[in-house]
């Protein structure tokens, strides 16, 4: 059985129903890693927020999201809280804002354990130290008592990953987990994520606009454009033999090292005319305007 099953999911915002995610369907099997790639504003983050139940109040959701057989879109907050942080967790993009600046990082991690289990305080501390140690934080017993601002960006992101894995979840959603990091730190954090996901046997939805990262971590990939999944398949297949022109454009723009230095880089518009998608027949159930949400990032 799939860990995650998304069917005909449409998410729109506000009174004008601006569509951000448009009839998306996808499955993730236990232990599977699915990359989700697309440009800024394509709906990647909205899709993730929908799955983990963190959409703002002005969002309208149609369709279904089931996690371990349980429908999430209609799940009351209280029951959702029992799943979120335990079986379904998330690694956020910005390690600075995802942590509470007024709370020691060890306590933040311990809170997650305490919320979802009966374990006593003494054993919790040891568990947190162990997990911090496992994600490669040197002197973990000291770092648990540190405040977020005392840690570097890479250390903070390791803390976030530790928190996402501490309850041995079955699905981790990673939203651009390494974009805020340096290239060398990024490579280390990615390797860590790879090992730790494997060690707890968690499935992963890995959101990124960096195709190279997705290629190195994910077995499967889905390409999202203007809120729709335009292509999905095995990573090598999709990146080496893209069937949709948008994917072809994305792959070409990402392969800077394939172009002779100084020559013109290919752009997506060489492969794909965005107007062709917008003029595609709209879904029969709606007659509201299909517009991409302009997000300021």
């Amino acid at each position: 059985m799939s860990v995650l099953r998304v069917r005909d999911l449409t998410v729109s915002f506000g009174r004008r129903h601006l569509v951000a995610v448009d009839q998306v369907s996808l499955d993730i099997e236990p232990g599977q890693r699915l990359g989700l790639v697309g440009a800024s504003g394509s709906g990647k983050t909205v899709l993730a927020s929908t799955i983990i139940g963190l959409l703002p109040d002005n969002a309208h959701v149609d369709g279904s999201v089931t996690f371990d057989g349980q429908e999430l879109t209609t799940l009351p907050d209280r029951e959702f809280s029992a799943i979120r942080g335990k079986d379904l967790t998330m690694v956020f993009q910005e390690p600075m804002t995802a942590l509470d600046p007024t709370m020691r990082v060890g306590r933040q991690a311990a809170e997650l354990v305490a919320l979802h289990s009966e374990s006593s305080q003494g054993t919790t501390r040891q568990l947190v130290v162990d997990v911090f140690d496992r994600v490669g934080l040197d002197q973990a017993s000291r770092i648990v008592d540190a405040y977020p601002h005392e840690l570097s960006g890479g250390q903070r992101q390791r803390v976030i990953i530790a928190m996402a894995l501490i309850n041995r979840p079955s699905l981790v959603i990673c939203d651009e987990p390494t974009t805020a990091l340096d290239a060398t730190v990024q490579a280390k954090v990615l390797r860590l994520l790879d090992e730790e996901l494997a060690s707890v046997d968690a499935a992963c939805l890995f959101i990124s606009h960096d195709l190279g990262l997705v290629a190195s971590l994910c077995s499967d990939v889905a390409v999202i454009h203007a809120g729709r999944i335009v292509e999905r398949g095995r990573t090598e297949q999709v990146f080496h033999h893209p069937s949709h022109p948008y994917t072809a454009g994305l792959v070409a723009t990402a392969s800077i090292d394939k172009v002779r230095p100084g020559e013109r880089l290919p752009v997506i518009e060489d492969f794909f005319d965005p107007s062709t998608v917008d003029s595609a027949p709209p879904s029969e159930s709606t007659n509201r305007p299909h517009r991409r949400i302009r997000r300021s990032r």
Binding site: A39, D210, L211, I256, R264
Partner: protein
């Protein structure tokens, strides 16, 4: 003639008790029409080096020359020459454009600088020059009456480029010009930078942590680590035969598409 010369330059921040050395004994010569990429991790001193070249920071020790003349931040004449021929593009186009100014005002602002008066070749007709540079960066004239928030990240970086190019600079400094942009927009902006540097005969110094960008755009590369320039050379040479272990590590850290 060399544009910039750095001779044993160090920059130290902070007081006597706790100080940080952002740059340590840096030697570097940048010739006219060269395209330099400066790479390194956060905190390696990349941005400090760029600020030094822009005349926004003074060396604590060592000497800095600009067109073979000593550069002294306290001397007005030398600084005027620097300010009128060097322009900069910043990393975050949201932070570097004034949200309360129209695009026309933003792009025309450097043309109003009194430091440009000493130069003979400054465009007189400001409105015409604004049209010209907006066209050069591929933006429609209707953009002039709009405000920065009405543009996407890639478009805003074009506006920042237009502003930098308006006063016909000789040298363009760029601090991570594409790292805030996503992959699909990055190619557009890099193509534009390449075309403009070519057609205007600029000298380019670009700071980045992305070696793929350096390989594509720059003919020379300098690798900074903990404030020291650990490796310098022609881009192809450094990328294909890195001498330092650290440079190798940086090159290997680039995630590739080939699985």
């Amino acid at each position: 003639m060399s544009v910039f010369g750095l001779n044993d330059v160090s920059v130290r921040f902070g007081g006597r008790r706790r100080s940080v050395e952002a740059l340590r004994g840096v030697d570097l010569v940048i010739e006219e029409h060269e395209r330099w990429g400066i790479v390194g991790e956060s905190g390696s001193g990349k941005t400090t080096l760029l600020k030094l070249l822009a005349g926004l920071e003074a060396p604590t020790s060592g000497s800095l020359t600009f067109f073979d003349a000593a550069l002294d931040l306290r001397r007005r004449e030398t600084m005027a020459k620097l300010r009128s021929s060097v322009q900069m593009v910043f990393q975050d186009p949201r932070g570097s454009l004034d949200p309360r100014m129209t695009i026309a005002d933003i792009v025309a602002e450097p043309l109003r600088s009194p430091l440009l008066r000493g130069r003979g070749d400054v465009p007189r007709d400001r409105a015409a020059r604004v049209d010209e540079v907006l066209e050069a960066v591929g933006l429609d004239r209707s953009a002039k009456s709009l405000y920065p928030h009405e543009f996407s990240g890639g478009q805003r970086q074009r506006i920042a480029l237009a502003r930098a190019l308006a006063p016909r600079p000789k040298i363009l400094l760029a601090d991570e010009p594409v790292s805030a942009l996503d992959v699909s927009v990055r190619a557009h902006v890099l193509n534009l930078v390449n075309d403009l540097v070519d057609s205007m005969g600029l000298t380019l110094v670009m700071v980045t942590h992305d070696l793929a960008v350096v390989r594509h755009t720059c003919d020379h590369v300098g690798v900074l680590r903990h404030g020291q320039l650990v490796e310098v050379g022609a881009t192809g040479e450094v990328m294909d035969h890195p001498r330092q272990a650290y440079t190798k590590e940086l090159i290997n850290a680039v995630a590739r598409l080939d699985v």
